[in-house]
């Protein structure tokens, strides 16, 4: 009850004025969203007969990138998918002027085959519960007034003018908010420690160095709703007594940097940042720091080093940053999504937030659902939602109706969850026993064409390039793990390699300097746990059952099934497949490079793995 009310209250609506929202997040822009935006802007200039002039806005990432470019019309609440500039005139004449939907652009439910007008009716959105993502796709992130109109900066006003600093901390504690970046540390406790610590000035930092491959929750919030981060940080600054803040943004996130810079400027102009904010005793300002391109800088102490002008090498956290952080001063570092929740909690109270989720994991979590799943994108659901619900009910199941093999959770620090455990609820604690973790929220769906040994190798290879290299277990451990996994994928593995993998992994988990090294073995250990037979098949049978490892995959076309459609020929980069149209095709072994493209492209399952 409380949750839904919270959602709609932040959406006061724009009255009668027709608005066209064109998604211009990174995903939709790649698909041509900006061209659609331009077409609308241009065409709507030439419609003097319309009584209200629709406003065209660029919005942040809706997350439903598979169906982009997305266009949403309010207040009618009609969403169009895969819109092209050529569709714009029809949308204007039919829908904006006559109120008639353009059927072919509506989302079509794959099961019921129905055309749905509102994205709120689709499975993808219906089962979501947006708090951190409440404004994404509803506002122009470059317009502070859009944010304000939807309740923005009201929480800050409420706190600054009517609450004690300790009250703010107590509210966050009562809400049960835990860090959304992966660590899950109780936020209220963190703020309390900083408030209690001696030292001045104190600092507030937003960790926007989202680095998990496959995760783009924070990107979406920084691009689509930068002010929620700013407001959250202001509330944190008030609570702990900080005067300066930094938003550390990953270097590769150009659009996020752009929108955050503008939002900071706009907030300053309106008096939400700077001296005596809203005539209160809080003076606080924020500086943007652009990362240098290092995944390890997502680790708190490495992030601090980076801001201080040093290489991103972490140090032991026997003394927390809340005591000795930036330049040795008490510092609060929280993730983007964590900050995005703060204004909502402060405005609507701790109880309504704590009413959502599970016993120890309150509120919602944003997941990035990607990989071999039908509906890819960002999904925000209450903590405790099961993996099955997210992947099948919201995600629409596995792509091309292939069989589910595993879902990787928690990025390079996490593990793979097999089909048998799909009914596990996701929250901070539930996945650890299964050998994984929720982490920052990445959910990568894998099918039977994914090799789990290669997945382990991939993650270790990623970390080999990202480890800072300071400590022995991580640097040399990752090197050794990568050598062994590569050998196994190339058919040079031995059974003793598995013992060595486990041995080195345990030392890495216990002795590494930071969480990168400590969790690096997780993908290896979890794939060994649930897919050991796949490792054994690589080692003992010299075969990759998924047809991925090139040295261990031999393909042949089954003459009984092949109908000569020629799709495989088109996808073969080395012209190794011969055959006449509508005749059985053959792979020339002497040319074939075993890349598996034909195997994956054949719609008739006519290509087999030996």
């Amino acid at each position: 009850m409380g949750g839904r009310a919270m959602q709609t209250e932040m959406n006061p609506g724009k009255g009668d004025r027709q608005t066209v929202l064109v998604c211009c997040g990174t995903g939709c822009t790649a698909n041509g969203g900006r061209e659609v935006f331009k077409a609308f802007s241009q065409s709507l200039q030439h419609h003097p007969e319309i009584e209200v002039l629709p406003v065209v806005k660029a919005t942040g990432c809706n997350g439903w990138c598979e169906k982009g470019p997305l266009v949403r019309l309010i207040p009618k609440d009609i969403t169009y998918c895969s819109v092209a500039p050529a569709d714009v005139d029809e949308i204007i004449s039919k829908t904006l002027l006559q109120g008639v939907p353009v059927k072919r652009l509506l989302y079509r439910d794959p099961v019921s085959k129905e055309h749905l007008t509102s994205h709120h009716l689709t499975d993808f959105y219906r089962k979501q519960h947006k708090i951190a993502l409440r404004n994404i796709g509803e506002i122009d992130p470059g317009q502070i007034d859009d944010y304000i109109q939807r309740g923005g900066y009201q929480a800050l006003q409420k706190a600054l003018l009517g609450m004690e600093r300790q009250e703010v901390i107590d509210t966050i504690k009562a809400a049960g908010l835990r860090g959304r970046g992966g660590g899950g540390f109780p936020t209220g406790q963190k703020w309390q420690a900083c408030r209690n610590a001696a030292g001045n000035p104190k600092y507030i930092i937003c960790n926007g160095d989202e680095g998990d491959p496959g995760a783009f929750m924070d990107r979406s919030i920084m691009e689509g709703d930068p002010h929620t981060v700013i407001e959250g940080m202001c509330l944190g600054a008030y609570a702990v007594g900080a005067a300066r803040g930094y938003i550390y943004v990953r270097d590769e996130y150009d659009l996020a940097v752009q929108y955050l810079r503008q939002a900071i400027d706009d907030a300053r102009q309106r008096g939400y940042l700077g001296k005596n904010i809203l005539n209160s005793e809080l003076s606080f300002d924020i500086e943007l720091v652009r990362g240098g391109g290092a995944f390890v800088c997502g680790e708190e102490t490495a992030l601090l080093a980076s801001i201080e002008g040093r290489v991103g090498e972490p140090h032991d956290k026997y003394v927390f940053p809340t005591e000795k952080g930036l330049w040795g001063k008490p510092t609060v570092i929280n993730n983007v999504e964590t900050w995005a929740n703060v204004p909502v909690i402060m405005l609507h109270g701790a109880e309504s937030f704590a009413a959502i989720g599970t016993d120890k994991s309150k509120g919602t979590k944003v997941f990035s659902l990607v990989g071999k799943v039908v509906n890819t994108g960002l999904v925000e659901v209450p903590m405790g939602t099961t993996l099955r619900e997210i992947i099948y009910e919201i995600g629409g199941g596995v792509l091309k109706k292939r069989s589910f093999k595993a879902v990787q959770t928690g990025g390079p620090s996490g593990g793979c969850i097999p089909a048998a455990l799909l009914d596990l609820p996701i929250d901070f604690d539930s996945l650890t026993e299964a050998g994984s973790m929720m982490g920052s929220g990445g959910l990568i769906v894998m099918d039977d064409h994914t090799c789990m040994v290669e997945v382990a190798r991939y993650y270790v290879s990623f970390l080999a390039g990202e480890s800072c290299g300071k400590c022995t277990p991580c640097r040399e451990g990752i090197r050794a793990l990568l050598e062994i996994l590569t050998r196994i994928c190339e058919g040079q593995g031995s059974i003793e390699d598995l013992d060595l993998l486990e041995d080195i992994s345990v030392t890495m988990q216990q002795a590494s300097l930071c969480a990168l090294g400590r969790t690096a073995p997780n993908p290896v250990l979890s794939t060994l746990r649930y897919f050991r037979d796949e490792y054994l098949e690589h080692i003992q049978q010299q075969r990759c059952p998924a047809g991925v490892c090139r040295a261990l995959s031999v393909f042949h076309i089954d003459p009984e099934i092949c109908n000569g459609c020629g799709v495989c020929v088109r996808h073969c980069s080395v012209n190794a497949i011969r055959g006449e149209k509508k005749q059985v095709h053959v792979i020339d072994e002497s040319i074939c490079i075993h890349c598996g493209e034909c195997y994956r492209q054949c719609a008739f399952d006519a290509i087999k793995l030996r």
């Binding site: 290092a294 390890v296 290489v311 140090h315 032991d316 026997y318 003394v319 080999a464 390039g465 990202e466 480890s467 800072c468 290299g469 300071k470 400590c471 022995t472 277990p473 640097r475 040399e476 451990g477 990752i478 090197r479 050794a480 041995d503 080195i504 345990v506 030392t507 216990q510 002795a511 590494s512 300097l513």
Partner: protein, 247 residues
């Protein structure tokens, strides 16, 4: 002073000192690669991991002795199966970088580490303990630093070229536990980190003992005596002076 129990025995620790400092003082052995008294703990090699359970905690945890500050009563274990496994694995991994080095050979034997195939690192035998960097920063002008990252990390001068900041003092080579830093000396010339230096001769015995650059730097930072004497001759002179003084 705090009461700290180490391996079942009560010891007294200064507030804030590291576990390693306490153990060194009390004669409790903990192996290290990257620790040096002059520079303090770095927490890099991870050879010094020990188990600690502080007052009020239910479980013990594994921490680096060289950087962990003692702030309350606690129980520490410096030898356990898990700890030995860590030492064995660290030795095994580092020995790849310094395959024929005596120190690593000793450590591998001591902890029963198997040997993995050697890897080629630059400089050869470098185990990335970082002591050379500290020495250069303290004694010199930070001519070297750890460059690149991850498995490619290595100690070097910028661009691997002769550094304007290098004085050729070889303090780095002196602290290196595996003698990985090459110092080539022939006559009155020393070559180190791709740079050639002229050596100054000792005025008493004539042996080339320090680089011109090094002596100039020392001269700028304080008066270390006008007489250019090598270490041995300086001691002899000092001893002679003391005798004269006492006489």
């Amino acid at each position: 002073m705090m009461k700290i129990n180490v391996n079942g025995q009560q010891r007294e620790a200064h507030a804030g000192e590291s576990i390693l400092d306490l153990c060194r003082r009390e004669g409790i052995p903990i192996p290290t690669f990257c620790y040096h008294q002059a520079f303090g703990g770095q927490g890099a090699c991870r050879m010094c991991m020990v188990e600690i359970k502080e007052e009020g905690q239910t479980r013990s945890r594994m921490v680096a002795a060289c950087t962990y500050p003692l702030t309350q009563p606690a129980e520490i274990t410096t030898e356990s199966e898990q700890i030995l496994r860590i030492r064995r694995t660290i030795a095994m991994l580092l020995a790849r970088r310094a395959d024929k080095n005596a120190l690593l050979e000793t450590m591998c034997q001591k902890y029963g580490a198997s040997r993995l195939p050697a890897i080629v690192v630059e400089p050869a035998n470098c185990i990335l303990c970082g002591l050379c960097i500290h020495a250069c920063a303290e004694m010199g002008k930070s001519a070297i630093w750890s460059m690149f990252r991850g498995v490619d990390k290595r100690i070097a001068t910028p661009y691997d070229e002769a550094s304007d900041d290098c004085m050729g003092c070889a303090a780095c080579a002196q602290v290196c536990p595996t003698q990985a830093i090459k110092v080539e000396e022939e006559g009155a010339v020393r070559r180190i980190w791709n740079k050639t230096f002229a050596l100054v001769a000792c005025t008493r015995c004539g042996k080339p003992y320090a680089t011109r650059d090094e002596l100039d730097y020392l001269g700028q930072h304080g008066d270390f005596g006008q007489e250019k004497l090598c270490e041995a001759c300086r001691r002899k002179t000092l001893a002679a002076n003391m005798q004269t003084f006492q006489a």
